[in-house]
Amino acid sequence: MAFDQTAVRKDFPILSREINDKPLVYLDSGNTSQKPQRVIDAMSHFQEHTYAPINRSSYRLAGEATDAYEKGRVAIARLINAPSVDEVVFTKNATEAMNLIAQSWGRANLGEGDVVVLTEMEHHANIVPWQMLVQERKIQIRWVPLTADGQLDLTNLDNLLDGAKVFSFTAMSNVLGTITPIAMLCERARAAGALSIVDACQFVPHNVTDVQSWGADLVAFSSHKMCGPSGIGMLWGRMEILDAMPPFLGGGNMIDTVTFDGFTTAPVPMKFEAGTPPIIEAVGLAAAVEYLEEIGMANIRQHEMELSRYTLDTLKGRFGDDITIYGPDDVKLRGGVFSFAFRDLHPHDVSQVLDERNVCVRAGHHCAKPLMQTLGVNATTRASIYLYNDTADIDALADGLDNATDIFGL
């Protein structure tokens, strides 16, 4: 065991909740993660003692609040090994970060016929903002296909990247669990003269992240999937690129000066943080990062690889041909999200039966409808793990699937 599992479970108060006298089996962390007591306490304490506007007022309390907000930025820069704290931009969520990129960089740099390369395993957040530019700017999208076991098929990558302006891809698929060769993909983008953008939502909460070793240009991820609060997301980018990008939203905080004739912008990151930002959330996020760092991202990854092996072996061992688990079988190539088809049951029915035992999974298209089309399904059931899950959770999932078999008389 990479860390004290029993102690970690106790750090998350919601995991001791019972519904109908049965414990909660939370297997939906790929959707959003639960919060440790420390994050809850940090946000409460901040509101009880320190809350005030940031970057506006000169009294001491406002200074303290500004410092607390900025600590969140420092924590994130440390977590992802960003060369400069100022390169971390806070947004509402990762989706907003992707839209910021498409609307700011995209509108400044992309015109009719310009090519953006995406992969078939992208989340809608890395598809729709570009499709909006297809409608508005007549840009073109090319798609990197998948192999049969749910990895990127890079056979034709050079052709796809030829003449492309952008290569935007996920670091880890939210459906297949597949971890992509991030540094290599960034290098190939650079060689082709394309901007590299990494959707790291599923990756950062579960792995050691080093944006410098990736060689990425822009990276988006979110707080709520890594034990932090919802309502705050992150964009990291190389300063040279962020500096050249026009602002996204206009308003307070993002300006240097405003006159009747116009405005000038504040430097990065404030240029992209118009209006009152998620102040309390940044404080909670800093606590979440400190919590994860104490356990150690490498330890979390180790734990999840072990539990992923157990999950794959348990489900395939107990259900054989009755279950189809999408994505690679090698746990070194995947993270802990397991989308599956179970017998001929619809994922809604599977999740309904699992819910009877408080087993929380997601059923549906997982905001990746084009990928569902590639897989040839309408929807899947998805179980996803985090540092607080253990083998008992996986056993409960398997027992629940047995129950589904009974109820539907299969």
């Binding site: 994922p347 809604h348 309904q352 009877e356 298209h365 409808k369 309408n378 929807a379």
Partner: protein, 157 residues
């Protein structure tokens, strides 16, 4: 387990395993497609009518698409109940069913209470699982879409 047994009653599972009136109808039959963006469920309703307006009779009805046990069984039972009845009778049936599902904004008309839902009563258990109500009404909204727009696409969101 009482909740689940309420939801997955035998008659519902029966319609799910052996859906009635499954298939397609060629034009000039009306065709409408409904989908639930939340879960990806899709239902296609084909209607063959004889006569005009509210007095037209549904000579044939076919259901296509794919989805969960609730959406599929509800559409199957709906097709069984509707065949051979007039448009007016079936609109009343839809009102009565949607009222059973607790859908807001349904204005009951005289005589609706007297409508016998038959097997459809079994779907009452869905009320305990509010997330699934959209599944239960998907086929019905698609049917209404077929009548009102003479086809097209509808969505339960």
């Amino acid at each position: 387990m009482s909740g689940l047994e309420d939801l997955y009653r035998e008659i519902i599972l029966d319609h799910y395993r052996t859906p009635r009136n499954r298939g397609e109808l060629d034009p000039p039959a009306i065709k409408a497609e409904g989908h639930n963006p939340l879960c990806g469920d899709e239902i296609t309703v084909y209607l063959s009518l004889s006569g005009e307006g509210d007095d037209a009779v549904i000579d044939d009805i076919k259901i296509g698409g794919q989805g969960c046990s609730i959406s599929q069984s509800s559409a199957s039972m709906m097709s069984q109940s509707m065949k051979g009845k007039t448009v007016a009778e079936n609109r009343a049936l839809a009102r009565r069913f949607k009222a059973l599902m607790g859908i807001d904004g349904i204005e009951p008309q005289d005589g609706d209470d007297a409508i016998d839902l038959g097997d459809l009563e079994a779907l009452e258990g869905v009320m305990k699982f509010p997330v699934r109500i959209k599944c239960a009404v998907l086929g019905w909204n698609t049917f209404l879409q077929a009548l009102d727009a003479g086809g097209g696409t509808t969505s339960t969101e």
